[in-house]
């Protein structure tokens, strides 16, 4: 009896001490935890439930099972939104990354003024998502805008007929150009990655007679692949979320003729214009699942093309 009490004493004290330490940990964590549970996890779970209901903010949600998801399949606007967004992701992301890598390599080799150019090229990605830039962008491509005027000389659309903004075939390229222009963030990451590539490798390759193209494909790309993968993942997810610029340039309509009806824009219309919160929630979850699947796919594929240092492959 006496033995057990003496044995339990230190165990309890240790447990108490651990509990206290845990408590302190949770206490420090609590601002984030409360925010995560209250502002992220809670609303997400609520929206998952709402996606199975008919809910207009107004009356209590009515459970409708899979109806919202079934409706998505026959909703031509949804299909259009999915198409526009897919085109934007498929074309915008690789072009943006190519531009970022190209400029990063130029800057990497530049001896003087690197700091200045790095800041100058990074700047658009800081302000690119802003409302004012979208307005300026629109002004440049509209009938009297500089791009529309110059473009018309080289066989672009007739500036007097509304420039690029009035032409449904050119609004998406216009928005892709806007995102490409914001290549600063991935560029800075590429630049950091390039600095990690040992110079000896290039020197050795050069001695072996490898030209610049060969050096790029055989040294730069493999050694940069973790950074490339990181940028690709980030930019792909980012591209799915395009909203501001499309909203501003189309004056909140997704036009002309639905050519800029991006997924998030359509989701916003359904949720906050039509008050079909159930349907909008279903759309949001489809987006989450699709982005999740694509990320998974990228991770899977990365095993075959991303090389981490110390990796045998």
């Amino acid at each position: 009896m006496a033995d057990t009490t003496t044995a339990r004493g230190p165990v309890r004290a240790r447990r108490r001490g651990r509990a206290r330490a845990n408590g302190a940990g949770y206490a420090f964590l609590s601002p984030w935890l409360i925010g995560f549970l209250g502002l992220t996890a809670g609303p997400m779970i609520a929206s998952l439930y709402l996606s199975f209901t008919d809910y207009n903010l107004f009356s209590p949600p009515v459970f409708t099972g899979l109806e919202n998801y079934q409706r998505l399949l026959t909703d031509t606007n949804f299909l259009q939104a999915a198409k526009v967004t897919a085109l934007y992701v498929v074309f915008g992301t690789p072009i943006k990354l190519a531009a970022a890598l190209a400029v990063a390599m130029l800057l990497h080799s530049a001896r003087r003024g690197q700091g200045f150019y790095r800041s100058a090229y990074y700047l658009p990605s800081l302000i690119g998502g802003s409302v004012s830039i979208a307005i300026v962008w629109k002004a440049m491509f509209i009938d009297e805008g500089i791009v529309a005027q110059i473009g018309a000389v080289f066989g672009g659309p007739d500036a007097a007929a509304g420039g690029w903004v009035g032409d449904p075939g050119r609004t998406l390229p216009m928005l892709i150009l806007l995102t490409v222009w914001q290549f600063g963030a991935p560029m800075v990451i590429f630049l950091a990655g390039l600095k990690q590539v040992p110079l000896e490798m290039y020197e050795a390759a050069e001695v072996d007679g490898a030209g610049p193209v060969r050096r790029f494909w055989s040294i730069t790309v493999p050694l940069l692949s973790p950074v490339l993968f990181f940028n690709l993942l980030l930019e792909t997810i980012h591209a799915f979320q395009i909203f501001n610029s499309a909203f501003i340039i189309s004056n909140g309509s997704g036009g002309p003729a639905q050519s800029t009806l991006f997924y998030t824009l359509y989701l916003y219309f359904r949720g906050f214009r039509d008050f079909q919160m159930g349907y909008a929630s279903a759309m949001a979850w489809v987006l989450v699942v699709v982005v999740g699947l694509i990320s998974l796919l990228l991770f899977r594929s990365s095993k075959s093309w991303v090389h981490y240092s110390g990796d045998d492959k």
Partner: protein, 430 residues
């Protein structure tokens, strides 16, 4: 055991809270008198910009001169946020005591029993003596007066006199038929072709839902059924769209590419098209955007040149059913609706004041003069109330605009237009 106690207490508290939310007040007998020194606190919400807020504060200061002990707690939002906030409040039975309403939402809210019937105050605290019956009807849902219009306007055709003078084309007549309108558009097109950029007669005038409502009204047909569904079929919409098919197909309307590029201005407001179809109050916007005071206004053309018009409420004041200050709220509605001083502050920016006394109090600007002159001229033709717009109407009107843009770009034909419109109405009006 110890952990279930707080949980049970929480559940009980939540239930009590819910019960408190759901509880309706006891029926209130509408007072007929309200002493100026009565103490009360009421909340009031409207939508609009800072300028309107400034005017509203001036109006409420005047109200407080008369009723110094009624504190009005005020709040305003931009149009888009306004409805999100109100819908959330409505869901929680927590609407402000007095709120500004739009015709497009009135039916939806009233159907849910969210408004007090102000009819009980008519002739007492609320004076509607100077209001036209057709206008009051537009604030009446299920035989209850749930919204008092602060102003009204009517569907019209505006024309840019400067532009027509420059082209040497005579102004359009008040009794134009649709065939004459077509000829007129072509006449302006011809005269304006040499201008840079070319001047057009008009943008496609089948592009907005109110235009369709106007056309239905001429045929003596309803637009919506009592239960909020469409009172028209696909053929009606297609016929309406096809009525402008000839000009549309021949490219005789102001080009859509340019409309989109100039958005939100478009042809008329951009000073490149002669005619515009809209509610009469928008003449103020036209004058400011085009930069001229020379805008004329006549009735929009009809098949035979005669018109059936309706007074369209531009803003309405409603009192929430959940208010605990119904009398003070009714007094505020009466004051804002009738006080000539209030009308003098707002001019016609909330629509033309509905009463003669109110209109007389307005120091008319150039646009007010055109608007009021038009409303006076058509007074004898206002024989209808504007249709009560069902819940979801706002989205349908937006959808019409989107589909019409696709039609003009040639992405869809009028058949697909109607099909998509009806499938959307199925979802939104059902």
């Amino acid at each position: 055991m110890s952990s279930t106690k707080p949980a049970a207490a929480l559940a009980a508290a939540a239930l009590l809270g819910l019960a408190a939310c759901g509880g309706g007040g006891t029926p209130h007998e509408a007072a007929t008198e309200f002493a100026p020194d009565t103490e009360a606190e009421i909340t009031f919400t409207w939508w609009g910009n800072d300028e309107r807020a400034d005017w509203m504060n001036q109006a409420l200061d005047l109200f407080n001169q008369e009723y110094p002990n009624v504190e009005v707690v005020r709040n305003f939002n931009a149009w888009g946020d306004y409805w999100t906030a109100r819908n959330t409040e409505a869901a929680g039975q927590a609407l402000p005591d007095v709120l500004m309403m739009d015709a497009g939402y009135l039916g939806e809210y009233a159907d849910k029993g969210l408004f007090l019937d102000l009819g009980a105050y008519q002739g007492g605290l609320l004076d509607t003596g100077g209001y036209a019956d057709t206008l009051l009807a537009s604030g009446t849902v299920n035989d209850q007066l749930v919204g008092v219009p602060m102003g009204y306007n009517a569907w019209s055709m505006m024309y840019n006199k400067d532009l027509l003078d420059e082209l040497g084309v005579p102004y359009p007549a008040a009794d134009m038929t649709l065939d004459e309108l077509e000829a007129y558009v072509l006449q302006v097109n011809q005269a304006g072709a040499a201008q840079d950029p070319p001047v057009y007669g008009a943008s496609d005038y089948t592009g907005s839902f109110p235009g369709f409502i106007y056309a239905r009204m001429q045929e003596g047909e309803d637009v919506f059924t009592d239960d909020g569904g469409p009172a028209f079929d696909e053929g009606d919409v297609q016929d309406y769209l096809d009525s402008a098919a000839e000009l549309r197909d021949a490219g005789d309307f102001y080009p859509v590419e340019r409309t989109v590029a100039l958005d939100p201005l478009g042809g008329f407001l951009g000073g490149e098209a002669a005619l515009w179809f809209n509610f009469s109050t928008t003449v103020a916007q036209a004058m400011s955007d085009i930069g001229t005071e020379n805008i004329g206004m006549v009735q929009a053309p009809t098949a035979d040149g005669t018109h059936v018009l309706a007074d369209h409420p531009s803003m309405l004041l409603s009192v929430a059913a959940n208010t605990d200050q119904p009398d003070a709220s009714a007094v505020l509605v009466d004051f804002l609706a009738n006080s000539p001083e209030v009308k003098a502050i707002f001019g016609a920016s909330l629509g033309a004041p509905p009463t003669d006394e109110g209109r007389a109090a307005v120091d008319q600007s150039a646009s007010d003069a055109v608007d009021f002159g038009y409303l006076e001229a058509i007074d004898g033709e206002i024989t209808e109330s504007y249709p009560l717009l069902p819940s979801g109407y706002g989205s349908i009107e937006a959808k019409w605009g989107e589909l019409h843009e696709q039609l003009l770009y040639g992405d869809i034909d009028t058949g697909q237009f109607t099909q998509e419109l009806f499938s959307e109405m199925d979802m939104l009006l059902g």
